[in-house]
């Protein structure tokens, strides 16, 4: 498994909406993620800044890179776009993090 981490940003007045929509994640979205080898996907909010720290395990990078191309993912991005900093294609603005330590 490959450990991955990314930071995104949610608008400060949208914290509750963001959590509520994730509490009710579309089943098709969960199935698509699992079908692409995604496991233990957590998202944590830093309330002071609105930064969202995502941590996940993926089986392989090639399969994971297909996630963004799926119709369901693009629908989810459009649904979440009013709550988050986004790119022109409505994907969340994301910064990949570099792992500097790991202790099993």
């Amino acid at each position: 498994m490959i450990r991955k981490a990314t930071v995104m940003k949610v608008y400060k007045d949208k914290y509750d909406d963001y959590k509520q929509r994730h509490d009710k994640l579309w089943p098709e979205m969960a199935e698509m993620l699992k079908a692409h080898g995604v496991h233990h996907y957590s998202i944590f909010l830093l309330e002071e800044t609105g930064q969202l720290f995502a941590y996940l395990l993926v089986e392989d990078e090639d399969s994971f890179s297909e996630v963004a191309k799926t119709e369901i993912c693009q629908k989810w991005w459009a649904y979440m776009a009013p709550l988050m900093e986004t790119n022109d294609d409505l994907s969340p603005v994301s910064h990949d993090l570099k792992e500097v330590f790991y202790l099993a």
Copy 2:
């Protein structure tokens, strides 16, 4: 297991030192963490800001809260203090994050 996430900060000219010291984590520090029920402890760097996002699993909060009181942890803090934003007791300035999503 309890999922936890915290953010700390490393000075911008100290990224390499931070990683190198963690690559050579003192064995006593690793043993102490494991003895206190810490598993899968990752730290990720956001290079743009110097933020360090830590993700870890802990067996229970009471045991984990003892980590900061150990002599080896306090020695580690003193060793790392020149690289990081710290409190008066040399512990890293830390902000806990709130989990807003989890997909197993």
